[in-house]
Amino acid sequence: MAEPKYVTSSDFILREIGEEYVLVPVGDVGDLENSMISFNETYTFIWKQFETPATVSEVIEVARQEYEDPEGLMERHIREASEELVKRSIIKAVE
């Protein structure tokens, strides 16, 4: 079975507010409404990669080209972060 592609949900936008990146819910998102979620560098990178449809493996590949991974934790971190974003419907599988 082909690996699914994901894309960012239009219910959220990423904004650079002051010195940090913040995810802002702008759609009907239940509990997350009226909140602003601070994104660290990893989450910001992942969000930006999923702005166009991509698989998690493709995102990992881009990350390997851009960042060093001396401890070999990059793939695990990206997979875990992506799972969380899917769980919270912040990124969605492309039909």
Binding site: S10, D11, F12, I13, R15, I17, G18, E19, V22, V24, V26, G27, E33, N34, M36
Partner: protein
């Protein structure tokens, strides 16, 4: 730049200019005190607008904390208020009530960073004032609470939202002026049909708003109304810069200019726009609607207005900077009157009395008492603002502002 402005004010104007343009070679005022620049920007509520520029300055740790907090709070307010505005207008729409938001996101969308424009409340204008009772029922049903204030009774109602924001529900566009013809024209022009409402997404939030012609006219009237009543701060001039620093369609400009002419506000338009061009970075290059041709401000379709002379622009801008110099609450400032002298003062008090007490002032017998109340309130407010100033200096200040207003009105548009 003339020496009417301090070095600190000149630097602030440069920071604003730099924030609205891509101009990398902004000039730098010498010998300014960045603490003072920071303080003026803070009081005018424009720190987030100049964030990228002012953070490059030699700020203290405490100032940097205030700056970051200000940016976050402003952005958070922007999103919360916009989401609430969308919720309210959707509820109205379901009941067949058309409405538009005023100010807020409808102006912020023209800023380089929309969420940097400070908003403290939600302003909604009903497309048809006849729907006010129906709109009230919708708000009550949704958990909103009316804040009773007779002062606003003939212009807008103030409501508290369930999440503790303030909603101003407008039934007419601006507070009535003491000019019936003017008021009648505005009220007729702003009964909106379905096709007069623009639905646009601002940072992912779709909201109903005015098209450019009416939006620009409302901005101008809003500035004028605030200028008459108590003055306004740099934020509204930033709105004007943001609005025109883009490509506005010719037919929209023509409609706008027609409204301005019918309401006799070409002089005010000229002074506001010229001030923005001279001091606030309203561009004179490609990408901006407006340009200068000798003594005129022009756009692709013809003349926009006359270019006002530097002296009146300076005095006007000085008044604007002064309005919130020390964080003065802007509803506690001196009124400006159309004319000077005792009769002008009496006329203004009569008008203010009608605005503050629309119901009570209908009974002639109560008028003397209401005049006294308005006068005492005027004195108390201005004494507080002016640090216990004498009555003579309060009246002198009102006179100064009235003379400035008269010069503006006499400016050839």
């Amino acid at each position: 730049m003339n020496n009417i402005f301090s070095k600190n004010e000149i630097r602030l104007l440069e920071l604003i200019t730099g924030s609205f343009s891509d101009n990398k070679t902004e000039k730098k005022a010498a010998g300014y005190d960045i603490k003072e620049v920071f303080s003026i920007a803070l009081h005018h509520g424009i720190l987030p607008v100049i964030y990228k520029k002012i953070k490059e300055e030699d700020l203290s740790g405490e100032e940097r904390e205030i700056l970051e907090a200000s940016v976050k709070t402003t952005a958070s307010d922007f999103f919360n208020l916009s989401m609430t505005a969308r919720r309210i207008t959707s509820l109205f729409k379901k009941e067949g009530i058309n409405a538009v938001i005023l100010k807020g996101a409808s102006i912020a969308r023209f800023y380089p960073v929309p969420e940097s424009r400070r908003s403290k409340d939600i302003d909604i204008l009903l497309a048809d004032p006849e729907n006010v009772k129906k709109a009230e029922s919708v708000l009550i049903e949704a958990g909103f609470k009316r804040t009773e204030k007779e002062y606003n009774a003939n212009h807008h109602e103030v409501w508290g939202t369930p999440d503790n924001h303030v909603l101003e529900l407008h039934t007419i566009l601006v507070e009535p002026f003491d000019d019936k013809g003017f008021n009648d024209y505005i009220n007729k022009r702003y009964i909106l049909r379905e096709e007069d409402i623009l639905h646009e997404k601002v940072l992912g939030i779709e909201l109903p708003m005015l098209f450019d012609d009416r939006l620009a006219f409302h901005l101008l009237l809003h500035m004028m109304m605030d200028f008459y009543r108590h003055g306004f701060g740099l934020k509204l001039l930033c709105d004007w810069v943001a609005f025109w620093n883009r490509d506005v369609k010719e037919d929209q400009i023509k409609n706008f200019l027609s409204d301005v002419e019918k309401c006799g506000q070409k002089g005010f338009l000229s002074v506001v726009t010229s001030t923005c061009i001279r001091y606030l970075g309203l561009k004179r290059e490609n990408g901006c609607t407006l340009n200068i041709d000798n003594d005129k401000i022009i756009y692709a379709g013809g003349t926009f207005c006359a270019l006002a002379d530097e002296k009146i622009c300076e005095d006007f801008l000085y008044d604007i900077i002064d309005t919130e110099r020390n964080g003065k609450p802007d509803d506690e400032r001196m009124v400006a009157m159309k004319n000077t002298g005792f009769m002008a003062l009496v006329k203004e008090f009569h008008h203010q009395t009608k605005l503050y007490y629309p119901k009570a002032s209908k009974a002639i017998i109560t008028l003397p008492v209401l005049y006294v109340i308005v006068f005492v309130r005027f004195l108390i407010n201005n004494k507080r603002v002016r640090g216990g100033a004498k009555l003579s200096s309060i009246v002198k200040e009102a006179d100064r502002r009235s003379r400035l207003l008269r010069r503006i009105n006499e400016t050839e548009g």
